[in-house]
Symmetry: C2
Subunit: 189 residues, 2 copies
DNA sequence: GACTTATTTCAATGGGCGTTGAATTGCGTG
DNA sequence: CACGCAATTCAACGCCCATTGAAATAAGTC
Protein backbone atom coordinates (compact mmCIF):
# COMPACT_ATOMS: atom_id res chain seq x y z
CA UNK A 1 0.00 0.00 0.00
CA UNK A 2 2.11 2.84 1.25
CA UNK A 3 -0.21 5.79 1.15
CA UNK A 4 1.01 8.89 -0.64
CA UNK A 5 4.65 9.11 0.33
CA UNK A 6 6.04 8.46 3.76
CA UNK A 7 6.38 4.91 4.88
CA UNK A 8 9.06 3.84 2.49
CA UNK A 9 12.22 2.62 4.15
CA UNK A 10 14.19 4.51 1.58
CA UNK A 11 12.69 7.83 2.45
CA UNK A 12 13.87 7.48 5.99
CA UNK A 13 17.22 6.18 4.86
CA UNK A 14 17.68 9.26 2.72
CA UNK A 15 16.75 11.46 5.64
CA UNK A 16 19.27 9.77 7.89
CA UNK A 17 22.08 9.84 5.36
CA UNK A 18 21.35 13.46 4.60
CA UNK A 19 21.52 14.37 8.27
CA UNK A 20 24.84 12.59 8.60
CA UNK A 21 26.41 14.08 5.52
CA UNK A 22 25.14 17.60 6.03
CA UNK A 23 26.54 17.42 9.54
CA UNK A 24 29.90 16.17 8.42
CA UNK A 25 30.41 18.19 5.27
CA UNK A 26 27.99 21.09 5.36
CA UNK A 27 25.24 21.87 2.89
CA UNK A 28 27.30 23.00 -0.02
CA UNK A 29 29.82 20.19 0.21
CA UNK A 30 27.16 17.52 0.32
CA UNK A 31 25.79 16.33 -2.99
CA UNK A 32 22.48 14.67 -3.60
CA UNK A 33 24.39 11.93 -5.32
CA UNK A 34 26.48 11.30 -2.23
CA UNK A 35 23.39 11.16 -0.07
CA UNK A 36 21.80 8.66 -2.41
CA UNK A 37 24.95 6.56 -2.46
CA UNK A 38 25.05 6.53 1.32
CA UNK A 39 21.38 5.65 1.52
CA UNK A 40 21.87 2.98 -1.12
CA UNK A 41 19.39 4.29 -3.61
CA UNK A 42 19.19 6.13 -6.87
CA UNK A 43 19.96 9.87 -6.82
CA UNK A 44 16.69 10.61 -8.54
CA UNK A 45 14.80 9.40 -5.50
CA UNK A 46 15.94 12.39 -3.50
CA UNK A 47 14.20 15.07 -5.52
CA UNK A 48 11.36 12.58 -5.84
CA UNK A 49 10.58 12.29 -2.14
CA UNK A 50 11.72 15.71 -1.13
CA UNK A 51 11.22 18.29 -3.78
CA UNK A 52 14.71 19.69 -3.87
CA UNK A 53 18.00 19.58 -2.08
CA UNK A 54 17.05 22.70 -0.20
CA UNK A 55 13.73 21.24 0.90
CA UNK A 56 15.51 18.12 2.05
CA UNK A 57 17.81 20.21 4.14
CA UNK A 58 14.88 22.03 5.67
CA UNK A 59 13.28 18.72 6.55
CA UNK A 60 16.49 17.57 8.21
CA UNK A 61 16.85 20.74 10.23
CA UNK A 62 13.23 20.57 11.31
CA UNK A 63 14.04 17.17 12.79
CA UNK A 64 16.89 18.57 14.84
CA UNK A 65 17.55 20.28 18.11
CA UNK A 66 15.28 22.77 19.66
CA UNK A 67 17.69 24.50 22.07
CA UNK A 68 15.19 27.19 22.94
CA UNK A 69 13.29 24.93 25.30
CA UNK A 70 16.35 24.25 27.38
CA UNK A 71 17.30 27.90 27.38
CA UNK A 72 13.83 28.95 28.43
CA UNK A 73 13.89 26.53 31.33
CA UNK A 74 17.25 27.89 32.47
CA UNK A 75 16.02 31.46 32.25
CA UNK A 76 13.02 30.59 34.38
CA UNK A 77 15.29 29.31 37.14
CA UNK A 78 17.51 32.35 37.00
CA UNK A 79 19.83 31.63 39.91
CA UNK A 80 23.44 30.53 39.94
CA UNK A 81 22.59 26.84 39.78
CA UNK A 82 20.83 27.40 36.50
CA UNK A 83 24.11 28.11 34.75
CA UNK A 84 25.53 24.75 35.67
CA UNK A 85 22.31 22.98 34.86
CA UNK A 86 22.15 24.64 31.45
CA UNK A 87 25.76 23.87 30.76
CA UNK A 88 25.34 20.22 31.60
CA UNK A 89 22.47 20.00 29.20
CA UNK A 90 24.35 21.79 26.47
CA UNK A 91 27.59 19.89 26.84
CA UNK A 92 25.75 16.57 27.02
CA UNK A 93 23.89 17.52 23.86
CA UNK A 94 26.80 18.50 21.75
CA UNK A 95 29.06 15.77 23.04
CA UNK A 96 26.50 13.19 22.09
CA UNK A 97 27.88 11.64 18.91
CA UNK A 98 24.56 11.82 17.10
CA UNK A 99 23.06 15.02 18.42
CA UNK A 100 26.35 16.86 18.46
CA UNK A 101 27.01 16.23 14.81
CA UNK A 102 23.51 17.28 13.91
CA UNK A 103 23.75 20.57 15.71
CA UNK A 104 27.10 21.18 14.16
CA UNK A 105 25.71 20.37 10.76
CA UNK A 106 23.02 22.98 11.09
CA UNK A 107 25.49 25.50 12.35
CA UNK A 108 27.82 24.72 9.52
CA UNK A 109 25.23 24.96 6.82
CA UNK A 110 23.71 28.07 8.26
CA UNK A 111 26.63 29.90 6.74
CA UNK A 112 26.06 28.36 3.33
CA UNK A 113 22.33 28.64 3.01
CA UNK A 114 20.31 31.78 3.66
CA UNK A 115 17.16 29.83 4.38
CA UNK A 116 18.97 27.89 7.08
CA UNK A 117 19.83 31.15 8.76
CA UNK A 118 16.19 31.94 9.30
CA UNK A 119 15.45 28.50 10.61
CA UNK A 120 18.34 28.64 13.02
CA UNK A 121 17.34 32.08 14.12
CA UNK A 122 13.79 31.03 14.83
CA UNK A 123 14.88 27.86 16.62
CA UNK A 124 17.14 29.83 18.93
CA UNK A 125 14.83 32.73 19.49
CA UNK A 126 11.16 31.76 19.24
CA UNK A 127 8.59 34.50 19.58
CA UNK A 128 7.79 34.03 23.23
CA UNK A 129 11.40 34.28 24.29
CA UNK A 130 12.20 37.09 21.90
CA UNK A 131 9.25 39.07 23.14
CA UNK A 132 10.31 38.78 26.74
CA UNK A 133 12.43 41.90 26.36
CA UNK A 134 15.73 42.00 28.18
CA UNK A 135 15.86 38.23 28.18
CA UNK A 136 16.48 38.38 24.48
CA UNK A 137 19.90 39.82 25.04
CA UNK A 138 20.78 37.12 27.50
CA UNK A 139 19.55 34.33 25.29
CA UNK A 140 21.55 35.79 22.49
CA UNK A 141 24.68 36.02 24.57
CA UNK A 142 24.45 32.46 25.84
CA UNK A 143 23.68 31.18 22.36
CA UNK A 144 26.67 33.03 21.00
CA UNK A 145 28.97 31.54 23.57
CA UNK A 146 27.69 28.05 22.86
CA UNK A 147 27.97 28.52 19.13
CA UNK A 148 31.53 29.69 19.61
CA UNK A 149 32.49 26.85 21.87
CA UNK A 150 31.05 24.29 19.49
CA UNK A 151 32.81 25.85 16.55
CA UNK A 152 36.10 25.94 18.40
CA UNK A 153 35.69 22.38 19.44
CA UNK A 154 35.03 21.34 15.91
CA UNK A 155 38.02 23.29 14.67
CA UNK A 156 40.23 21.41 17.05
CA UNK A 157 41.14 24.64 18.78
CA UNK A 158 40.43 23.50 22.28
CA UNK A 159 42.11 21.27 24.78
CA UNK A 160 40.66 17.80 24.35
CA UNK A 161 40.95 17.06 28.05
CA UNK A 162 38.27 19.65 28.77
CA UNK A 163 35.75 17.31 27.28
CA UNK A 164 36.88 14.01 28.73
CA UNK A 165 34.43 12.10 30.91
CA UNK A 166 31.21 13.89 30.12
CA UNK A 167 32.85 17.27 29.91
CA UNK A 168 33.08 17.94 33.63
CA UNK A 169 36.10 20.16 33.12
CA UNK A 170 34.34 22.15 30.42
CA UNK A 171 31.32 22.65 32.64
CA UNK A 172 33.55 23.87 35.46
CA UNK A 173 35.45 26.24 33.22
CA UNK A 174 32.34 27.69 31.63
CA UNK A 175 30.03 27.80 34.64
CA UNK A 176 31.14 31.19 35.98
CA UNK A 177 30.93 32.65 32.50
CA UNK A 178 27.42 31.44 31.87
CA UNK A 179 26.55 32.63 35.32
CA UNK A 180 27.78 36.08 34.46
CA UNK A 181 25.85 35.94 31.19
CA UNK A 182 22.56 34.97 32.77
CA UNK A 183 23.07 37.51 35.51
CA UNK A 184 24.01 40.37 33.24
CA UNK A 185 21.31 42.93 32.53
CA UNK A 186 18.59 42.05 35.01
CA UNK A 187 14.97 41.89 33.80
CA UNK A 188 14.40 45.54 34.64
CA UNK A 189 17.76 47.13 33.90
CA UNK B 1 59.81 44.95 -16.49
CA UNK B 2 58.00 43.01 -13.79
CA UNK B 3 60.39 40.40 -12.54
CA UNK B 4 59.15 36.85 -12.16
CA UNK B 5 55.60 37.31 -10.91
CA UNK B 6 54.55 39.82 -8.35
CA UNK B 7 54.16 43.37 -9.36
CA UNK B 8 51.34 42.97 -11.78
CA UNK B 9 48.30 45.04 -10.95
CA UNK B 10 46.16 42.08 -11.81
CA UNK B 11 47.77 39.85 -9.25
CA UNK B 12 46.85 42.25 -6.53
CA UNK B 13 43.39 42.76 -7.97
CA UNK B 14 42.82 39.03 -7.86
CA UNK B 15 43.99 38.91 -4.29
CA UNK B 16 41.64 41.68 -3.28
CA UNK B 17 38.64 40.24 -5.09
CA UNK B 18 39.37 36.83 -3.63
CA UNK B 19 39.48 38.25 -0.11
CA UNK B 20 36.17 39.99 -0.67
CA UNK B 21 34.39 37.03 -2.19
CA UNK B 22 35.75 34.43 0.20
CA UNK B 23 34.59 36.68 3.00
CA UNK B 24 31.14 37.12 1.58
CA UNK B 25 30.45 33.66 0.26
CA UNK B 26 32.91 31.27 1.87
CA UNK B 27 35.49 29.14 0.17
CA UNK B 28 33.26 26.57 -1.40
CA UNK B 29 30.72 29.05 -2.69
CA UNK B 30 33.33 31.22 -4.33
CA UNK B 31 34.41 30.23 -7.81
CA UNK B 32 37.64 31.14 -9.51
CA UNK B 33 35.54 32.44 -12.34
CA UNK B 34 33.70 34.79 -10.04
CA UNK B 35 36.96 36.05 -8.60
CA UNK B 36 38.32 36.66 -12.08
CA UNK B 37 35.15 38.45 -13.11
CA UNK B 38 35.34 40.67 -10.06
CA UNK B 39 38.98 41.39 -10.69
CA UNK B 40 38.27 42.03 -14.35
CA UNK B 41 40.58 39.43 -15.79
CA UNK B 42 40.55 36.02 -17.35
CA UNK B 43 39.85 33.08 -15.06
CA UNK B 44 42.98 31.35 -16.26
CA UNK B 45 45.07 34.05 -14.64
CA UNK B 46 44.14 32.81 -11.21
CA UNK B 47 45.76 29.39 -11.39
CA UNK B 48 48.52 31.14 -13.30
CA UNK B 49 49.59 33.50 -10.52
CA UNK B 50 48.58 31.36 -7.61
CA UNK B 51 48.89 27.70 -8.26
CA UNK B 52 45.44 26.63 -7.30
CA UNK B 53 42.29 27.87 -5.68
CA UNK B 54 43.40 26.41 -2.40
CA UNK B 55 46.79 28.12 -2.58
CA UNK B 56 45.07 31.40 -3.35
CA UNK B 57 42.96 30.99 -0.28
CA UNK B 58 46.01 30.32 1.83
CA UNK B 59 47.61 33.47 0.50
CA UNK B 60 44.53 35.47 1.36
CA UNK B 61 44.34 34.11 4.88
CA UNK B 62 48.02 34.75 5.44
CA UNK B 63 47.27 38.39 4.74
CA UNK B 64 44.61 38.56 7.41
CA UNK B 65 44.17 39.20 11.10
CA UNK B 66 46.46 38.03 13.79
CA UNK B 67 44.22 38.22 16.85
CA UNK B 68 46.74 36.50 19.08
CA UNK B 69 48.73 39.68 19.61
CA UNK B 70 45.76 41.50 21.05
CA UNK B 71 44.86 38.57 23.22
CA UNK B 72 48.38 38.28 24.55
CA UNK B 73 48.41 41.92 25.50
CA UNK B 74 45.12 41.54 27.36
CA UNK B 75 46.39 38.51 29.23
CA UNK B 76 49.47 40.38 30.34
CA UNK B 77 47.34 43.07 31.90
CA UNK B 78 45.12 40.59 33.67
CA UNK B 79 42.94 42.93 35.69
CA UNK B 80 39.34 43.91 35.26
CA UNK B 81 40.10 46.80 32.91
CA UNK B 82 41.72 44.37 30.51
CA UNK B 83 38.40 42.83 29.65
CA UNK B 84 36.97 46.09 28.47
CA UNK B 85 40.13 47.00 26.65
CA UNK B 86 40.15 43.66 24.86
CA UNK B 87 36.52 43.96 23.98
CA UNK B 88 36.92 47.39 22.54
CA UNK B 89 39.70 46.12 20.33
CA UNK B 90 37.72 43.09 19.25
CA UNK B 91 34.48 44.91 18.57
CA UNK B 92 36.27 47.63 16.69
CA UNK B 93 38.03 44.98 14.61
CA UNK B 94 35.01 43.02 13.58
CA UNK B 95 32.80 46.03 13.14
CA UNK B 96 35.30 47.49 10.74
CA UNK B 97 33.75 46.92 7.34
CA UNK B 98 36.98 45.64 5.82
CA UNK B 99 38.57 43.78 8.68
CA UNK B 100 35.28 42.39 9.94
CA UNK B 101 34.45 40.79 6.65
CA UNK B 102 37.89 39.32 6.36
CA UNK B 103 37.79 37.71 9.75
CA UNK B 104 34.36 36.40 9.03
CA UNK B 105 35.54 35.02 5.74
CA UNK B 106 38.27 33.04 7.36
CA UNK B 107 35.91 31.79 10.02
CA UNK B 108 33.40 30.83 7.40
CA UNK B 109 35.84 29.02 5.19
CA UNK B 110 37.50 27.31 8.07
CA UNK B 111 34.50 25.05 8.11
CA UNK B 112 34.84 24.24 4.43
CA UNK B 113 38.51 23.71 4.11
CA UNK B 114 40.64 21.54 6.39
CA UNK B 115 43.82 23.43 5.61
CA UNK B 116 42.15 26.63 6.76
CA UNK B 117 41.44 25.02 10.09
CA UNK B 118 45.14 24.62 10.82
CA UNK B 119 45.89 28.17 9.79
CA UNK B 120 43.15 29.53 11.98
CA UNK B 121 44.26 27.39 14.87
CA UNK B 122 47.82 28.57 14.63
CA UNK B 123 46.78 32.20 14.27
CA UNK B 124 44.67 32.04 17.40
CA UNK B 125 47.04 30.00 19.49
CA UNK B 126 50.68 30.58 18.56
CA UNK B 127 53.30 28.52 20.32
CA UNK B 128 54.25 31.04 22.97
CA UNK B 129 50.70 31.53 24.13
CA UNK B 130 49.82 27.87 23.91
CA UNK B 131 52.87 26.93 25.95
CA UNK B 132 51.97 29.29 28.74
CA UNK B 133 49.90 26.59 30.38
CA UNK B 134 46.66 27.63 32.08
CA UNK B 135 46.49 30.68 29.87
CA UNK B 136 45.71 28.39 27.00
CA UNK B 137 42.31 27.59 28.43
CA UNK B 138 41.52 31.25 28.90
CA UNK B 139 42.62 32.18 25.43
CA UNK B 140 40.52 29.40 24.08
CA UNK B 141 37.47 30.48 26.06
CA UNK B 142 37.73 34.09 24.98
CA UNK B 143 38.30 33.08 21.37
CA UNK B 144 35.28 30.82 21.51
CA UNK B 145 33.08 33.57 22.81
CA UNK B 146 34.27 35.95 20.14
CA UNK B 147 33.82 33.41 17.41
CA UNK B 148 30.32 32.78 18.64
CA UNK B 149 29.43 36.43 18.85
CA UNK B 150 30.72 37.08 15.37
CA UNK B 151 28.85 34.13 13.97
CA UNK B 152 25.64 35.19 15.68
CA UNK B 153 26.06 38.70 14.42
CA UNK B 154 26.54 37.47 10.90
CA UNK B 155 23.53 35.19 11.19
CA UNK B 156 21.40 38.14 12.11
CA UNK B 157 20.62 36.54 15.45
CA UNK B 158 21.47 39.52 17.54
CA UNK B 159 19.91 42.81 18.31
CA UNK B 160 21.32 45.36 15.89
CA UNK B 161 21.15 48.11 18.49
CA UNK B 162 23.90 46.39 20.46
CA UNK B 163 26.34 47.38 17.78
CA UNK B 164 25.24 50.90 17.06
CA UNK B 165 27.72 53.70 17.63
CA UNK B 166 30.93 51.75 17.87
CA UNK B 167 29.31 48.91 19.74
CA UNK B 168 29.26 50.55 23.15
CA UNK B 169 26.24 48.50 24.18
CA UNK B 170 27.91 45.29 23.09
CA UNK B 171 31.02 46.14 25.05
CA UNK B 172 28.94 46.83 28.12
CA UNK B 173 26.97 43.63 27.79
CA UNK B 174 30.01 41.48 27.22
CA UNK B 175 32.47 43.11 29.63
CA UNK B 176 31.45 41.16 32.74
CA UNK B 177 31.52 37.95 30.79
CA UNK B 178 34.97 38.50 29.42
CA UNK B 179 36.04 39.54 32.87
CA UNK B 180 34.79 36.25 34.24
CA UNK B 181 36.58 34.44 31.44
CA UNK B 182 39.90 36.11 32.02
CA UNK B 183 39.53 35.64 35.74
CA UNK B 184 38.50 32.00 35.59
CA UNK B 185 41.17 29.45 36.43
CA UNK B 186 43.99 31.50 37.86
CA UNK B 187 47.54 30.88 36.66
CA UNK B 188 48.18 28.36 39.40
CA UNK B 189 44.81 26.66 39.87
C1' DG C 1 63.80 46.33 -35.41
C1' DA C 2 64.64 41.67 -33.42
C1' DC C 3 64.84 38.80 -29.22
C1' DT C 4 63.17 37.65 -24.67
C1' DT C 5 60.29 37.46 -21.21
C1' DA C 6 56.00 38.44 -18.69
C1' DT C 7 51.23 39.03 -19.12
C1' DT C 8 47.05 37.94 -20.89
C1' DT C 9 43.60 35.67 -23.82
C1' DC C 10 41.17 31.81 -25.87
C1' DA C 11 39.28 27.39 -26.45
C1' DA C 12 38.89 23.12 -24.68
C1' DT C 13 38.86 19.05 -21.41
C1' DG C 14 36.91 16.29 -18.09
C1' DG C 15 34.17 16.13 -14.26
C1' DG C 16 30.46 16.82 -10.82
C1' DC C 17 26.34 18.92 -10.02
C1' DG C 18 20.75 19.19 -9.41
C1' DT C 19 17.03 17.96 -11.75
C1' DT C 20 13.89 15.87 -15.21
C1' DG C 21 10.90 12.55 -17.61
C1' DA C 22 10.17 8.34 -19.40
C1' DA C 23 10.58 3.58 -18.57
C1' DT C 24 10.56 -0.38 -15.33
C1' DT C 25 9.64 -3.05 -11.38
C1' DG C 26 6.87 -4.69 -7.52
C1' DC C 27 2.68 -5.23 -5.04
C1' DG C 28 -2.12 -4.98 -3.17
C1' DT C 29 -6.79 -4.87 -5.08
C1' DG C 30 -10.75 -5.57 -8.35
C1' DC D 1 -5.16 -12.48 -14.25
C1' DA D 2 -5.17 -7.68 -15.10
C1' DC D 3 -5.36 -3.07 -13.39
C1' DG D 4 -3.42 0.83 -10.97
C1' DC D 5 -0.32 2.95 -8.32
C1' DA D 6 3.78 3.59 -5.65
C1' DA D 7 8.67 2.71 -5.64
C1' DT D 8 12.44 2.70 -8.20
C1' DT D 9 15.75 2.81 -12.07
C1' DC D 10 18.01 4.72 -16.12
C1' DA D 11 19.70 7.90 -19.27
C1' DA D 12 20.05 12.32 -20.31
C1' DC D 13 19.86 17.41 -20.03
C1' DG D 14 22.16 21.80 -19.17
C1' DC D 15 25.06 24.16 -16.16
C1' DC D 16 29.11 25.55 -13.76
C1' DC D 17 33.37 24.19 -12.13
C1' DA D 18 39.01 24.11 -11.82
C1' DT D 19 42.54 23.51 -14.56
C1' DT D 20 45.35 23.17 -18.80
C1' DG D 21 48.25 24.34 -22.91
C1' DA D 22 48.87 26.77 -26.81
C1' DA D 23 48.42 31.10 -28.94
C1' DA D 24 48.50 36.16 -28.87
C1' DT D 25 49.88 40.59 -26.96
C1' DA D 26 52.64 43.90 -24.66
C1' DA D 27 56.97 45.62 -22.74
C1' DG D 28 61.89 46.05 -21.88
C1' DT D 29 66.64 45.13 -23.63
C1' DC D 30 70.21 45.13 -26.98
Amino acid sequence: MAEAKGLSDTRQAIMRSAADLFAELGYRNTSIRAIAADAGCDPALVPHYFDSKEALFSAVVADTVRPAEVLREALRRGDAGAAEWLLRHAVADWEDPVQGRRILGVLRSVLDLPVARERMSRALLPRDVADSGPDEVRVWLVSSLFIGVMTSRHMGLLDETLFKEGGEAAVDALAPVVGALLGADGPDA
